[in-house]
Amino acid sequence: MSVDTTTVKKIASLARIAITDEDAARIAPELDNILGWIEQLGEVDTSGVEPMTAVIPNTLRLRDDVVDADPLTGGGKRDQLMSNAPQGEHGFFTVPKVIE
């Protein structure tokens, strides 16, 4: 398996990162090298091994079913949430037009 420029452009597009042809050509051998090194994992026999899902055994908790159970993560924070928006109007985030 090798990573070529076309693959890099495809990955960049999936990751929503704009990339020039020049950069894609430069990055391809780098990624190829790293992924080639990662390939060695294939030699490990993992049959019958469960993939790890939790590194330290823990149980999922349920919080009390009340509104704003935690004041920091509760609601009513529109202005705080909007305070770092690059662009907002009337209490909404604004983006370029998406529907013609």
Partner: protein, 495 residues
């Protein structure tokens, strides 16, 4: 002549303020001056002298009123810029968070303020904590205060990703600093700069309000001058937090109270797989000295095997980028941070332009690796396989801990290298974490303590790994090494 207060560590400051030997404001003032004069190190991204002074005034007022002082009353600290701090810009070392000023504090920073600590400033770091040399920050390299002996003026890497934290503590700009560790980001910079740092068991420290890199691995921890200071600061940072689904609902042990360097009956495991070809002789020699020191403290040395060690680093470079590619999807130019909207561009173009401009090279590289290994057709071959290998690595440790109580290894495969020396070769850079990544994958507590100097006069660290939740065992073995290593070297101020 009065003691230079910036020579004091956390315990000495806390005790001195309590005893009235000096005021908390005197301490804060002394560090504020040091920070302001150390611009050449580029350790601080934002200086917050008023925050430190306000906490100090509170400590002095509490003492004057005869109140019981808080655990960190009068102690000013540095805060890695990965932690959200209310009203203080937080960037994670990245342009994509330009202009972002959190309206809330992370649980870790809030816990520290609640314990009485004040903040001297926000510390530079590898962008999104991705790096081992602090060369990926959008705001310039952090320069190690250490120089090779023999008149070399080459700027050295402080290690990463918590490079600013390591430098600030090592150059005496603050007595302690927060770090975060995903694959070694507390321990490797601590080793490079001759300080101590501990990554607790995954789940001890809340991740809420800490900018995410790889959520199944990220853990906060303290970086400080010695083991006792780490124990004190970790106790203030740790604790259950309902806002983090993986936070452990456990009481915080009294680690400082439990410190003991008497290791009678303790079994220390030496994993044979950590003897890697090409490791400098000095690292092996240091490791042997560490073994001798622990034996001298009463421990029994046993050989152990961690057979899947060689697969830890490649597994990490699937798991961490995969999680990062998902976590960093939130930076879209809509809700916070940078927005790049080219003339006439639509929404998708805005996302792509914003992320191309805002993320640094290493961050993009890891997002792309993560995107690739998670993409249709590759998920099982890469991500599932890596997750299975992670299970095997954790099992290796479980089996080793049937024969021993704590494991000793070197922290890093070399002393600090020069800035620029490895930045063109991602794989060579990744190798820095070869000794620290396995314990991260297994979620175990682990710490680096200074062990000695290499032939160029640069610090080398020893690394202790413990059972889940056994921070005490790690700290105690660290203390035994600290007492025997007698590490007093410090960088000569050139900045």
């Amino acid at each position: 002549m009065m003691t230079d207060l910036t020579d004091l560590g956390i315990a000495a400051i806390r005790d001195g303020v309590r005893a009235g030997s000096f005021s908390a404001v005197e301490v804060a003032d002394a560090f504020v001056v040091k920070v302001a004069r150390a611009k050449a190190l580029n350790a601080f991204l934002v200086e917050t002298p008023n925050h430190a002074l306000a906490a100090a005034k509170d400590a002095d007022a509490a003492r004057a009123a005869g109140e019981v002082l808080k655990p960190l009353a009068g102690v000013p600290i540095g805060m890695k810029d990965l932690f959200c701090t209310a009203g203080v810009p937080t960037t994670a070392g990245s342009d994509i968070l330009a202009g972002f000023t959190p309206t809330y504090d992370s649980t870790i920073s809030q816990n520290l303020w609640d314990a009485g600590a004040g903040m001297l400033g926000k510390l530079n770091m590898d962008q999104f904590a991705m790096g081992s040399s602090n060369e990926t920050s959008a705001f310039g390299n952090v320069i190690s205060p250490w120089r090779r002996s023999g008149g070399s003026n080459a700027d050295l890497a402080p290690g990463g990703s918590s490079g600013g934290s390591a430098v600030a503590v090592s150059a005496r700009l603050c007595p302690g600093a927060t770090g975060t560790d995903t694959g070694g980001s507390i321990r490797q910079p601590a080793a490079f700069t001759g300080i101590s740092g501990i990554k607790p068991t995954y789940g001890r420290c809340s991740r809420w309000g800490t900018i995410a890199f790889a959520s199944s691995l990220d853990q906060a921890g303290p970086m400080a001058r010695d083991v006792r200071d780490c124990a004190i600061m970790l106790a203030a940072m740790a604790g259950f937090d309902a806002k983090d689904a993986t936070s452990l609902k456990l009481d915080v042990p009294k680690w400082e109270h439990g410190l003991s360097s008497n290791l009678n009956g303790l079994r220390v495991g030496i994993p044979k797989e950590y003897r890697i070809d090409g490791t400098p002789e000095e690292i092996d020699a240091l490791w042997q000295r560490g073994i001798d020191w622990l034996r001298d403290a009463g421990a029994e040395i046993v050989d152990v095997s961690l057979p899947h060690t060689k697969y830890a680093l490649p597994a990490y470079y699937i798991i961490a980028p995969a999680e990062a590619s998902s976590n960093l999807a939130r930076y879209d130019g809509v809700r916070y941070g940078l927005r790049d909207l080219p003339e006439g561009a639509g929404l998708q173009d805005m996302y792509a332009a914003t992320r191309a401009d805002g993320f640094g090279e290493e961050v993009k590289r890891r997002i792309m690796i993560g995107t690739y290994v998670l993409s249709a057709g590759f998920y099982d071959a890469y991500f599932t396989q890596a997750s299975k290998i992670r299970t095997l690595i954790a099992r290796d440790f479980e089996r080793a801990f049937e024969q021993c109580d704590v494991i000793l290894t070197p922290t890093a495969p070399s002393a600090a290298f020069a800035l620029g020396e490895k930045s063109d070769d991602p794989l060579a850079m990744y190798m820095n974490d070869v000794f620290t990544v396995p314990s991260s994958l297994a979620g175990l507590p682990a710490m680096s303590v200074p062990g000695g100097l290499d032939k160029h006069g640069l610090p080398l660290g020893l690394h202790l790994i413990g059972r889940p939740l056994d921070e005490q065992g790690v700290l105690n073995a660290g203390l035994a090494i600290e007492e025997r290593a007698g590490f007093v070297a410090r960088p000569e101020a050139w900045w």
